[in-house]
């Protein structure tokens, strides 16, 4: 698809970028798994009378969706197909790539912390 005059240039969009779509789908599944896990951990923390830090896992799941999946999709669908057409696309791609990976790093830490805390509290 060509979108004329979107930020002033002729932009091609690959709506179903393969295989990046598989990666994005995979991380959506992981986010859902984390949301389910947060409910279990919440119940276990309630029994221990500990603070509800499972909310950090809920935040982590949403960070995966918002900061990794969506930027990664935009990168694959918009920036990557147009690298040969516009040098600005390289800058956008690298910026979104940084957002994706640092977002994923943040969410990984947010999942690890409450899990490790529960592990320590129940030793």
């Amino acid at each position: 698809m060509n979108l004329n005059n979107l930020w002033g240039s002729d932009v091609r969009i690959d709506w179903l970028p393969m295989p990046p779509l598989l990666l994005e789908l995979g991380f959506v599944l992981l986010a859902v798994a984390l949301l389910w896990y947060s409910r279990v951990l919440g119940d276990l923390l309630t029994i221990l009378r500990k603070p509800p830090i499972e909310v950090l896992i809920v935040i982590a799941a949403w960070v995966i969706i918002l900061a990794f999946v969506i930027p990664h999709y935009i990168t694959s669908a918009v920036f990557y197909p147009n690298l040969d057409a516009d040098p600005r696309m390289t800058t956008y791609l690298l910026t979104f790539r940084s957002i994706s990976f640092f977002g994923l790093l943040t969410s990984a830490v947010l999942v690890l912390f409450p899990s490790l805390a529960y592990y320590v509290w129940t030793r």
Binding site: L25, L29, W36, D43, S98, A108, S115
Partner: protein, 345 residues
């Protein structure tokens, strides 16, 4: 013991199966959906593109003269070098057989100009390190309607063998080099941007060849930045965007894998405590695909690249998706088991 929060019964193994089936269906929908190259087949006939050499950029804006015009050939094959000698280049009206010792390298570009002094006079500014070939005998391009055609050294009867071609405006059947495969009409004649900047017609991506023009899923788009004789290059990335981000990419997926392993440990301890199966072994093995993805990403980025190549992507991404599906199923089982027991308490 404090009272537990109310635990809904709405999600059980049945719903887990439905979610898994839905996700698998989505996965296959993505795999089986038409690729962009074929998506536009309804608007223009798809044909087999050139396996090797293609026209990748043309600059002949309305009002220009041959001294400032240029076009570019690109080699789509990364590992094959092609000698240019003997190839036949044609416009709608003229043609010339190349007589040169130059070779187009794998994934390389060659810039063609119409006057021998176009570079020296600064009328054309080639990309750094560009190979340049002057073809004055070709005469120049008609900005309103013309074609560029590449024939092999032996073009066959009636020049029926064409390596690649591109045309703009309405092709004229009276052109000596007219053929029925030219686009009707071709690309729009090239004009300057609204603020007067030059732009070119370019193949986007440079390696795509579906034999379609400026259509949905076609090959050609307007390039706002000219790159005569080379690919479009962005500014070099900073340490943060390259080195630090590469580290974050590898470390984040490694930590995510570790997080799922800890979930498996929690499930294991829950099983021992309650003497009920939680299938923690599945939770322990399911995230292995995340670890595999981490390894591929680390190998790919260790060479300083900003993206995995296609082989690496096809290796890592499906494995991660499958692993994530197993993680979802395993966490779902653990959740159902745990909540059944806790609800019983």
């Amino acid at each position: 013991m404090m009272p537990l929060r109310p635990i809904a019964r709405r999600v059980r193994a049945g719903s887990l199966t439905i979610v898994a089936a839905l996700l698998v269906a989505l996965l296959f929908a993505g795999l089986l959906a038409p690729t962009p190259a074929h998506a536009g087949a309804g608007t223009a006939p798809a044909a087999v593109g050139s396996p090797s050499l293609v026209f990748s950029e043309v600059y002949a804006p309305v009002g220009s003269d041959p001294a400032t015009q240029w076009f570019e050939l690109h080699n789509r094959q990364a590992s094959i070098r092609y000698p240019l000698n003997g190839l036949i280049l044609a416009t709608g009206h003229n043609q010339v057989t190349l007589s040169t010792s130059q070779v187009i390298t794998g994934s390389g570009y060659v810039l063609f100009v119409f006057t021998t002094d176009a570079i020296a006079k600064g009328l054309v500014a080639p990309s750094k390190g560009a190979q340049v070939v002057a073809v004055p005998d070709l005469g120049g391009l008609d900005p309103s309607a013309d074609a560029l055609i590449l024939y092999p050294p032996v073009p066959g009867p009636d020049k029926s063998l064409i390596i690649d071609q591109v045309n703009w405006g309405k092709p004229n059947p009276n052109w000596p080099n007219y053929n029925a495969a030219l686009w009707q009409p071709g690309l729009d004649p090239l004009v300057l941007s609204a603020d007067g900047r030059p732009r070119s017609w370019g193949r986007t991506p440079a390696d795509q060849d579906t034999d379609q023009g400026h259509t949905a899923g076609g090959d050609w788009t307007l390039h706002e930045i000219l790159s005569p004789g080379g690919r479009v290059v962005g500014s070099p990335p900073s340490d943060f965007l390259l080195g630090w981000t590469n580290w974050a990419g590898g470390l984040s997926s490694l930590l995510l894998w570790a997080a799922f392993v800890i979930i498996a440990v929690i499930a294991y301890r829950f099983e021992r405590l309650r003497d009920t199966r939680t299938y923690w072994q599945l939770l322990l093995l399911a995230p292995s695909g995340i670890l595999f993805y981490t390894i591929i990403v680390s190998i790919g980025f260790s060479s300083g690249r900003t993206a995995l190549n296609n082989d690496e992507k096809w290796l890592a991404f499906p494995v991660l998706a499958l692993s994530a599906l197993f993680c979802l199923i395993a966490v779902g089982i653990f959740r159902n088991v745990a909540r059944s027991l806790l609800e019983g308490d």
